[in-house]
């Protein structure tokens, strides 16, 4: 197929060339040219009026290995072979391969797959393996079967990633350069073939070795057995995970398959040295069957990257971690509530997972548009989420508000828009971390519109409810729910700038100020309102039910347990204090001239401030805080009460914040959070608070007061909240 396509292209080019050769009349001007350019000044460009430096910038530089993909073709004298040429010349064995050779080919192929998953093109990675060009011609049964399976695995991976749509050009190349992935072999057939090879190898492994030679062969056979068995189960896992029917059952099977895959992978990692030339290090697989140049001519002119294929053992480690990530992904089915699932998505993304596991998580959660796990409607899941979050009366059972058609239409319409927005939020969390920040900024515009709608629905329901037989206020229910999510997105947006190292140290103070003074405060007030509405709902349902002593006993029990949001409120309070601590510390540093500032002619703090907070401008609640207000508020703080605000006082205030944060985190820990990630997060934040407390205490005592050496902000403990270190 591919050979045919290439022949065709060649023919066309040939025709073109014959045509061209007739029209050209080449005259040698080499010496003339080189002497003429001597007349140009140093740095002078001779060019046409229509061609300028701007155009020149996009030229690719020849003979620069990073830009010139064609350069590598002429290195060395070995001309790349096509599959057929390689077989005819005897460079490619089709049968009588040794076990070590097959193991080497298999491991190198996995290296190529891993490099492909890291964003390189298929042509420069997996299809540098000549055996994959014509798997049907291979006579060695295990290698042939493996090659067929690889086609299948690549196809499934490509489909999953394309379906999840969470990749950008830097994550993944989906172009296949004319290689046809759909081999005419069904999944069952592929599995059956793999099983057959696996069993044959298994049988071999029963014959115990008698001498050194047979001992080596025995161990090689075992190593190959592990690879074939892994390939089979890996293929099955990917195929099951990508399926939209019977998702829960499939994922349960996947868990089992994945743990078997991991076992086999351990064997593979241990036996990687059994493959030929496993100890040689180079940028490409160096064994029979691989030719890094074979597809070089297929590449577009400005092919962006020089492809370095991962060494075999590193690649296998990568797959081992991929298996662990897929195990994590399969746990998503335990999160039936939307808020739980969203936190799961965000936590998963925090670890910067690979494109395949990110995509898998997306298609497992929403295999069909608007169907969570392929069964529940996403709208219903969101309805449950809103109900659990704040108990809007309109969504509660036995409330007749929604019998009004207009009201029902409004609520359904609102939830429909929520499906779009929260769908985008979930999808966004699948993108790479840098892209997420961009997308968060755009998402805030949609949140602004949804906030507006939520408020209008609330007020309509409010008017309707007050007119009904059982009047109850219905203000700020949906509004608070959307506001809560808006604020979380805003916090994520600001914090991501630290993680991506976008802010300069001299910008930190207003970022932390914004978080401390506004966002966390707003978040706490939103969640406290939700808490009190939930409480109201409890009282309401209690008074309306109120039958039997059994029920009220149950309710009493409920009251003794902490409020549902107490942990979350404590966490936000702690983070607010941490941000307050940084803000005060930074103000102190600025007063002590410890923060290097940019040259004043080139600097405008206002421009910088407005740029950093630009995405918040579209929101009505919380209203954006203009730069002037920042100046007024912060200078007001500095001049307040007594005239002489010293840096020591700032440090001391910061110290107090970190101290409070520590107390809050400790009481959060005493609530025994169920989620292990929360516990880890608390412990990290505790370390940050304790360390910074001590540093600020030292500074408040006048330690290194005269040094203008800038402090170091060390993000190694937490990706958003640094440890302050004094040089």
């Amino acid at each position: 197929m591919t050979a045919l396509a290439r022949d065709l292209v060649e023919n066309i080019h040939e025709k073109e060339m014959h045509f061209d050769q007739l029209t050209y009349n080449w005259v040698d001007i080499t010496n003339d040219f080189f002497s003429s350019v001597q007349s140009l000044e140093l740095g002078e460009l001779l060019h046409d009026e229509l061609f300028g430096l701007f155009e020149a910038m996009s030229a690719i530089e020849m003979m620069d290995p990073k830009m010139d993909a064609g350069m590598l073709c002429n290195r060395g004298n070995s001309k790349p072979y096509s599959f057929k040429q390689a077989v005819d010349s005897g460079a490619l064995k089709l049968h009588n391969l040794t076990l070590a050779e097959v193991i080497g080919i298999i491991d190198s192929t996995y290296s190529c797959i891993v490099s492909w998953l890291e964003g390189h093109s298929l042509a420069q990675t997996v299809f540098t393996n000549l055996y994959l060009h014509q798997p049907g011609q291979i006579l060695d049964k295990s290698l042939r079967t493996f090659c067929y399976a690889i086609y299948k695995i690549i196809e499934i991976i490509k489909d999953c990633i394309n379906k999840a749509m969470v990749f950008e050009e830097e994550d993944f190349q989906s172009v296949t350069y004319g290689y046809r992935l759909q081999q005419d072999i069904t999944e069952q057939k592929t599995i059956a073939m793999l099983k057959e090879v696996e069993e044959e190898l298994h049988r071999k492994s029963r014959i115990k070795p008698v001498d050194d030679e047979s001992n080596r062969e025995y161990n090689d056979a075992l190593a190959l057995y592990a690879r074939i068995r892994f390939t089979k189960m890996f293929y099955q896992t990917l195929s099951l995970m990508g399926r939209k029917e019977q998702l829960h059952q499939n994922l349960a099977d996947c868990q089992r398959l994945l743990s078997n895959c991991s076992d086999m992978m351990q064997v593979m990692i241990k036996t990687v040295s059994r493959g030929v030339k496993a100890d040689e290090l180079c940028d490409h697989p160096n064994i029979m069957g691989f030719d890094p140049m074979v597809n070089q001519r297929l590449l577009p002119p400005t092919f962006p990257r020089y492809t370095k294929i991962k060494p075999r053992s590193e690649a296998l480690e990568y797959i081992d971690e991929l298996l662990n990530r897929l195990k994590t992904v399969s746990k998503i089915t335990g999160y039936t509530s939307f808020h739980g699932a969203l936190d799961f998505f965000l936590e998963f993304s925090r670890q910067s997972p690979c494109i395949l596991s990110r995509s898998m998580l997306q298609i497992v959660y929403l295999p069909l548009t608007n169907r969570v796990f392929g069964t529940q409607s996403f709208g219903d899941v969101l309805r449950d989420a809103a109900r659990a979050f704040i108990a809007p009366p309109a969504l509660m059972p036995k409330i007749t508000l929604l019998q009004n058609h207009q009201a029902k239409d409004y609520v359904d319409g609102f939830l429909g828009h929520c499906v779009c927005l929260f769908g985008s939020l979930v999808q966004l969390s699948g993108h790479n971390r840098a892209r997420q920040r961009d997308k968060l900024a755009h998402l805030l515009e949609d949140f602004a519109a949804l906030q507006d709608e939520a408020e209008r629905v609330d007020s309509y329901l409010h008017t309707l409810s007050l007119k009904s037989d059982t009047p109850r206020p219905h203000l700020a229910y949906f509004g608070t729910w959307i506001l809560y999510h808006t604020l979380r997105v805003m916090v994520m947006y600001l914090l991501s700038g630290f993680e991506l190292e976008l802010y300069s140290v001299h910008e930190y103070h207003y970022i932390f100020w914004y978080l401390y003074e506004f966002l966390y405060g707003w978040l706490m007030s939103a969640i406290t309102r939700a808490d009190s509405f939930l409480m109201e709902q409890d009282i309401h349902s209690e008074t309306h039910k109120g039958r039997g002593a059994k029920k009220s006993a149950k309710n009493k029990k409920k009251k003794s347990t902490p409020r549902p949001y107490s942990l979350e409120i404590l966490m936000y309070q702690a983070m607010q204090n941490i941000c307050g601590g940084y803000y005060k510390a930074l103000m102190g540093f600025r007063m002590d001239k410890k923060i290097p500032l940019p040259e004043s002619h080139f600097d405008s703090e206002r421009v910088r401030y407005e740029h950093r907070l630009l995405p918040f401008a579209s929101l009505l609640t919380p209203p954006p805080v203009p730069y002037q207000e920042f100046l007024d508020m912060t200078s007001g703080q500095m001049l307040n009460r007594d005239e002489t605000v010293t840096s020591e006082k700032q440090y001391l205030a910061g110290c107090g914040h970190f101290h409070q944060a520590r107390n809050m985190l400790e009481s959060a820990l005493s609530l025994y959070p169920a989620n292990v990630h929360t516990v880890n997060q608390i412990n990290d934040l505790l370390k940050v608070s304790k360390t910074n407390f001590i540093v600020l205490k030292l500074l408040a005592g006048g330690h290194k007061k005269d040094s203008t050496e800038p402090p170091i902000f060390d993000f190694s403990c937490h990706q958003h909240f640094p440890l302050i270190k004094l040089a």
Partner: protein
Amino acid sequence: MKDTVHSMSTTPNTEAVHGNGEALPVEESPAKLKLRGWLNRHLKIKMTDGRVLTGAFLCTDRDANVILGSCSEFLSEEHTEARALGLVMVPGRHIVTIHLDA
């Protein structure tokens, strides 16, 4: 874009445009006029690694770095299979021969 380039160099034939975009009125030497006459003509350049490039001559400098537009690449002089490259810059130190389509 065209307009801005025009306004920058109003009388292109009598001016050399410096790399920084500054236009200086200079008497053009015969050598420069010769080079200018080759602009937009087809060149065939052989590089040190044996590859041959053909394309429209757009720009050069004192080190004979050459920019070719709509460039095609051939693996050697015998090869007929072209690979389209587009806009390329060939460093002067990698140029072996230059041919002009007369």
